[in-house]
C-alpha cells in the first residue's frame, strides 16, 4: 500500500516537473538571454538531418496509399475519387502523424540521448555553476526548432506524398493526371489545410518537451541513458497518437464537419 502511495506521489511529481519544463521552456522565447546560435544548430539538426528520411518515407507512403485505394475503388467503379481520398488522408491525418513519428524517432531520441549524456557528464550542472539556466540554453532552442521545423517538414512530406500518389494513379492505375490534380485542388479548402497545419505545431511541442524532460531526468549511467532514449521515443509516439485523436475530434467539431 505504501509502495502504491509512493508511486502515485512520484507520478504526480514527475507530471508537475514535466509541466514546469514545458511552460518555462516555452516562456524562454520571451525572456533574455536568447541563444540564437543554439537554436540555429538545433534547426539544422532537426530539419536538414531529417529531410531525406521524410522525403523517402512520404514518397512511399503516398504511393502505397494510392495503390491500395486505386485497387479498392476500381472494384467499386469509383477510381476517380482516388486523388480526393488520398489528398484528404495525407493532408489531414497521415502526413502530420507520419512526419511527427519520424521526427520523434530521429530528433526526439537524439535530444533525449544528448541531454542525458550531458546530465551524466555533469555538463548541465556546469551550466548552472556558470549561472546559465539550462532551461533557456538547452530546452528553449529545442522547443523552438521543433515548432519551426516539424511544420516545414510536414508540408514538404505532404507534397512528396501527393506526388507519389499522383505517380501511381497516373502511371500504374492509368487515371487522368489533370483530374487527379483538380481533385487535390478541390480538397485544398481552408478547413482541411487548417486541420493539417495545426497538428505539426502541437506534435512538435510535445516531442521536444517529452524528449527534453526525459533527457534531463536521466539517471544511472549507460543503462539509464538507454532507458531514457527508449522512453522518450515511446512516450512521444503515444503522445502523438493520443493528441492526434483529440485534435481531430476538436477540429472536426470546431470546423463544422459532421461525423
Amino acid at each position: 500500500m505504501q509502495t502504491l502511495e509512493k508511486k502515485i506521489i512520484e507520478f504526480v511529481s514527475d507530471l508537475q516537473d514535466f509541466y514546469l519544463l514545458s511552460f518555462h521552456g516555452l516562456m524562454g522565447v520571451v525572456r533574455r538571454p536568447f541563444y540564437f546560435k543554439d537554436m540555429i544548430e538545433q534547426m539544422d539538426y532537426a530539419g536538414s538531418g531529417s529531410f531525406f528520411i521524410i522525403l523517402l518515407i512520404s514518397l512511399f507512403i503516398g504511393m502505397a496509399l494510392s495503390l491500395q485505394l486505386s485497387a479498392e475503388l476500381s472494384r467499386l467503379g469509383m477510381k476517380m475519387y482516388t486523388g480526393k481520398i488520398v489528398g484528404i488522408s495525407i493532408i489531414r491525418e497521415i502526413g502530420p502523424v507520419l512526419t511527427a513519428m519520424v521526427f520523434a524517432g530521429r530528433v526526439g531520441s537524439g535530444i533525449a540521448s544528448e541531454l542525458g549524456s550531458m546530465v551524466l557528464g555533469h555538463q548541465v550542472d556546469t551550466f548552472r555553476v556558470f549561472g546559465v539556466d539550462p532551461m533557456k540554453k538547452l530546452v528553449t532552442p529545442r522547443i523552438l526548432s521543433a515548432l519551426i521545423m516539424l511544420p516545414v517538414l510536414t508540408i514538404i512530406g505532404d507534397c512528396v506524398s501527393l506526388f507519389g500518389a499522383y505517380y501511381i494513379a497516373v502511371f500504374v492505375s492509368h487515371q487522368s493526371g489533370t483530374f487527379f490534380w483538380s481533385s487535390i485542388r478541390d480538397i485544398m479548402i481552408y478547413e482541411n489545410v487548417l486541420a493539417g497545419s495545426i497538428k505539426p505545431f502541437i506534435f512538435g511541442y510535445l516531442i521536444a518537451c517529452i524528449s527534453c524532460y526525459m533527457g534531463l531526468s536521466t539517471k544511472g549511467g549507460a543503462i539509464g541513458l538507454r532507458r531514457t532514449t527508449t522512453r522518450a521515443v515511446v512516450a512521444s509516439f503515444i503522445a502523438i497518437i493520443v493528441a492526434d485523436f483529440i485534435l481531430t475530434r476538436v477540429l472536426l467539431y470546431v470546423l463544422g464537419f459532421s461525423v
Binding site: G121, H122, Q123, D125, T126, R128, V129, F130, G131, V132, D133
Partner: protein, 246 residues
C-alpha cells in the same frame, strides 16, 4: 565562510548525509576523504546549491542558501570555482570555446580579447597548442587542466571546489594537476578537494575530513590523521604506505 548546520540529504530512500555540521574558512585547504557513495561529491553540490538538503542549513558567508532560487544562487556560485570529476567539458565545443564560455557569459569582452585571454590561460597549463581540439581528442589530464582554467576564466573565485581532480589519472598527470592546484591556491583562495586518493590529499591539503555513513568521523590535521586508530582511516592510510614503499 562555508557552514553546514545539521544537514541531512538523501537520494530517494538512500540516506547520504546525516545531521552533518562543519565549517570551512575560505583560505583553508581541505580534503574530504571517504569511500565511493559516502556523499563527498554531494557536499560540494550542496555548497553551490546544485542540491538542496532535506533538512538543516547551508550557510555561505553567513547567508542561508537552502531556500534561494536559481537566480539568487548565481551570486553565491560566482564565489566558487567548481571542477567536476572528468572535467565536464562541453563536448560539442572546442577547447577554446569551452574556456571562452564563461567569458562570453560574464564579461563584455570583444572576440579579440577573448581569444587573447583564452590563449593566456591555456599557455599557463601548457595547452595552447590544443586550442582548436575537441574534448574527445584530449587525455584525462588535459581535460582537467582545461576545466580548471575554464572555471577561473571569467572571475577570481574565493574558493575552489575539486571533485576527484586526480582520480583515474596516471601518476604523471596527477602530479601535474596537484602542482596546478597548489599553484592556484598560492595565488590566493583555499579549496576543498574531494578524493579517495590519500596520497594526493596529503600533498595538497592541511585539513582532512573523513566521511563514513553520512557523518564526519574525523576532522583534523595531517598528524592527527596519521595517528588515527579508526579502522576505515587505517585502511586508507595503508594506500599511503604502499605508495611510499612501492
Amino acid at each position: 565562510m562555508i557552514e553546514f548546520d545539521r544537514v541531512s540529504f538523501s537520494y530517494g530512500n538512500r540516506f547520504v548525509l546525516n545531521d552533518l555540521s562543519f565549517a570551512v574558512h575560505e583560505d583553508e585547504r581541505v580534503a574530504i576523504l571517504g569511500g565511493s557513495g559516502d556523499g563527498k561529491t554531494t557536499i560540494l553540490k550542496l555548497i553551490i546549491g546544485l542540491l538542496r538538503p532535506d533538512s538543516g542549513k547551508v550557510l555561505i558567508d553567513g547567508e542561508d542558501i537552502t531556500e534561494k532560487t536559481e537566480d539568487e544562487l548565481r551570486d553565491i556560485r560566482i564565489k566558487f570555482s567548481m571542477v567536476f570529476q572528468d572535467g565536464a567539458l562541453f563536448d560539442s565545443l572546442s577547447v577554446k570555446e569551452n574556456v571562452a564560455f564563461p567569458l562570453r557569459e560574464y564579461t563584455g569582452m570583444s572576440e579579440e580579447e577573448i581569444d587573447q585571454k583564452v590563449r593566456e590561460l591555456l599557455r599557463r597549463v601548457g595547452l595552447e597548442e590544443a586550442i582548436g581540439h575537441m574534448p574527445e581528442e584530449l587525455s584525462g589530464g588535459m581535460h582537467r587542466r582545461v576545466a580548471i582554467m575554464r572555471s577561473m576564466a571569467a572571475f577570481q573565485p574565493k574558493m575552489f571546489l575539486y571533485d576527484e581532480a586526480t582520480t583515474g589519472l596516471d601518476p604523471v598527470s596527477a602530479d601535474v594537476i596537484c602542482k596546478l592546484i597548489l599553484d592556484i591556491s598560492e595565488q590566493g583562495g583555499g579549496f576543498i578537494i574531494v578524493t579517495h586518493k590519500i596520497f594526493d590529499a596529503f600533498r595538497l591539503a592541511n585539513r582532512f575530513m573523513f566521511l563514513k555513513g553520512g557523518r564526519i568521523i574525523f576532522d583534523g590535521d595531517r598528524e592527527t590523521l596519521l595517528g588515527s586508530t579508526i579502522p576505515e582511516i587505517r585502511i586508507f592510510l595503508g594506500e599511503l604506505s604502499i605508495n611510499c614503499n612501492g
